[in-house]
Symmetry: C2
Subunit: 385 residues, 2 copies
């Protein structure tokens, strides 16, 4: 067993309902078979949220979710009351087929915004999903939630007697690219909803929230954590935190590597700031700067663009004492270039950029981003048409 079906007591399914013109798999289901039905979730920070986010937020308010229904190919976003009614109808139909309460369903959609769901196709998909469920169908589910992803993403973390499984799609969180980021985690650990929420929130902050591909934030981003206690093992909060962080980091790495049009993975570390929050502002300002991202695409050690971007950030800094390091080589010290700065080799696929704001503070942050390539423009200039 691997991925989302690694822990005991979870089944998954992935099928081709026909939402996508490509004929690729497009509906998935994850079912928690208990004995407990504990759930936690983190949703998009966008003010405009898709119908499935509205519905899932409502349903998870009591800390219980027994199954999550996924579809790709249509985000069911910006469809108003009809969109919410249709998300609810599909959730109720799925719940009835599984013989569970409709308010114990989670729903996640990803794909184009502003198109109504193809309801006839999806009703038939809902009806077909239960027969496809299996304890070995985690990979099928991971494949069915893909949009522009080129590979499915799944991961597992095994501990003594319990485990966490997961699947994900998309490129970024709170700032994803073209498509929504959806992640579902499962565990057979025996944990409370509060413990699950605490572990998930901390892990998301340190992993998915450090991904910033293009500064865009989806209407649909959702991360679920479902727990059933089937192992009978009750990890400490610290043990749970570590395991959830480990699997989130694994999936975040996979998302970054598959981001749209990526030729470079760029890790930005800002330090010497007055606070972690200011360091994060500075790291995000750099991670979103198109000039910097184009330079990375060109393997161009143009540290001047790093300074120009950092200087715009909402963060205190010493403008005369900024240090920039590319892949361990100091290219700028006291806000001036070093003699061999232009000779640093950035031709590899992984680039680490470190910026010290020169204040001697403890504030520190990490942001993972990517280069800005021709392929990014290509993919995103002809999406809906």
């Amino acid at each position: 067993m691997s991925g989302i079906t690694t822990p005991q007591g979870f089944r998954a399914a992935g099928i081709t309902a026909g939402i996508k013109a490509s004929g690729k798999p497009d509906m998935a289901l994850v079912v928690n078979d208990g004995p407990e039905y504990t759930a936690a979730a983190v949703f998009t920070s966008n003010r405009i949220v898709a119908a499935p986010v509205t519905l899932s937020r409502k349903n998870i308010s009591n800390g219980v979710i027994r199954a999550v229904l996924f579809n790709s190919g249509n985000a069911n976003a910006c469809n108003g009351k009809p969109g919410l009614a249709e998300a609810s109808e599909l959730a109720e139909r799925m719940a009835a087929a599984l013989d569970i309460a409709p308010e114990d369903m989670g729903v996640c959609s990803t794909g184009i915004i502003g198109e109504r769901l193809p309801m006839d196709i999806m009703r038939a998909g809902v009806d077909a999903l239960p027969a496809a469920l299996g304890i070995d169908q985690g990979d099928a589910a991971a494949e069915a939630i893909m949009t522009t992803d080129t590979v499915p993403k799944s991961a597992q973390v095994r501990r003594d007697g319990w485990s966490i499984g997961g699947m994900g799609k998309g490129v970024g969180m709170m700032a994803p690219a073209l498509a929504t980021m959806l992640v579902c985690l499962t565990t057979d650990a025996k944990i409370s909803a509060a413990a699950a929420q605490e572990a998930l929130k901390k892990a998301v902050d340190q992993t998915f929230n450090t991904l910033d591909i293009d500064g865009s934030t989806s209407t649909n981003d959702t991360v679920f954590l479902l727990a059933n206690g089937a192992s009978g093992i009750q990890p400490s909060q610290a043990e749970l935190d570590a395991a959830v962080l480990e699997i989130c980091a694994d999936i975040a790495d996979q998302l970054q590597a598959d981001a749209e049009g990526v030729t470079k993975r760029v890790r930005i570390i800002v330090e010497g700031a007055n606070s972690d929050a200011e360091a994060l502002n500075a790291a995000r300002a750099l991670g979103r700067d198109n000039l910097f991202k184009c330079a990375m695409f060109g393997s161009d050690p143009n540290w001047g663009r790093v300074l120009a971007a950092i200087g715009t950030a909402d963060a205190e800094m010493d403008p005369d004492n900024i240090t920039v390091t590319f892949n361990g080589h100091v290219v700028c010290k006291e806000t001036q270039g070093t003699p061999d700065a232009r000779e640093v080799d950035l031709s590899g696929a992984d680039i680490e950029v470190r910026v010290d704001l020169g204040l001697g503070g403890e504030g520190r942050a990490l942001v993972r981003t990517t280069d800005l390539s021709h392929a990014y423009v290509e993919i995103n200039s002809a999406y809906s048409t």
Copy 2:
């Protein structure tokens, strides 16, 4: 007479000193021959500023500037104390040649960040500039400040007995692309430094500050307004404001049209907001969103991306009552797509996007941006190398 030398009592020069490897013109000078030497300026908001900005800020503090020395091909940014010393040396040398006080010089540089100025070449350039001065050399000056600009930008506004002339380069202000935005305006109106500063600040806010090509902000952005009172005419503040606004709008249009890799000019208007500031936040969030900009490049009426971007803005909105209009066609009403939304023709070079945040407020803002094209990536991925 046209451009910067339109008003009486100004001379300009543009020469090839040899800073640029291309052999194109790269140094310019604008001289105010009086009788008054009033000046106003607006500088970059970047925390990290180039040496010429530091020097010009100091020199303009008394409201007097008699001449401005420009160079392209090197920004003299992030060069520390040596960079400032070199900017000062060139200003002093120029002032001596013009027989004016060194503290009455303005200096503007644009080009690559972090390279020291080629001082021998530039000293010779300074020595050659006075002989090139002429009341018909405005176009030569405008050409000598270009970097990746494909055409020189100049403009003039004529009033009864007085005029304003101007030149500019670059693409954006407070958020320019690859290169710095530099603008110099001249007028023979008789105005105080306070009146000049008021008119300039207001005009910059309504023109250059609405340009947002890629969210990047240069270390060197500078807008100068020089006034000599040679016409003897003293316009009212309202007359001055209107004329300065008109010439700034003209140059801003030229900058937007020549932005790097542009195939589309996009005007974003946000209305129905609680305040102008919140409307501006929302317009900027959209104008900087790469997914939206790629869709514009592809002439793709993907209004879902407009909503996804607007929803991330720091602005109050009614998430269920947002209206989006492309080129006058309503594509989204009450946060839902209209039936023919995907059929809107965006194939032209100019696209207007209007977003109503649905609060019924008076808050309104305009941002001019561009699409994100293959050419942008091409130009910016191989700049310093």
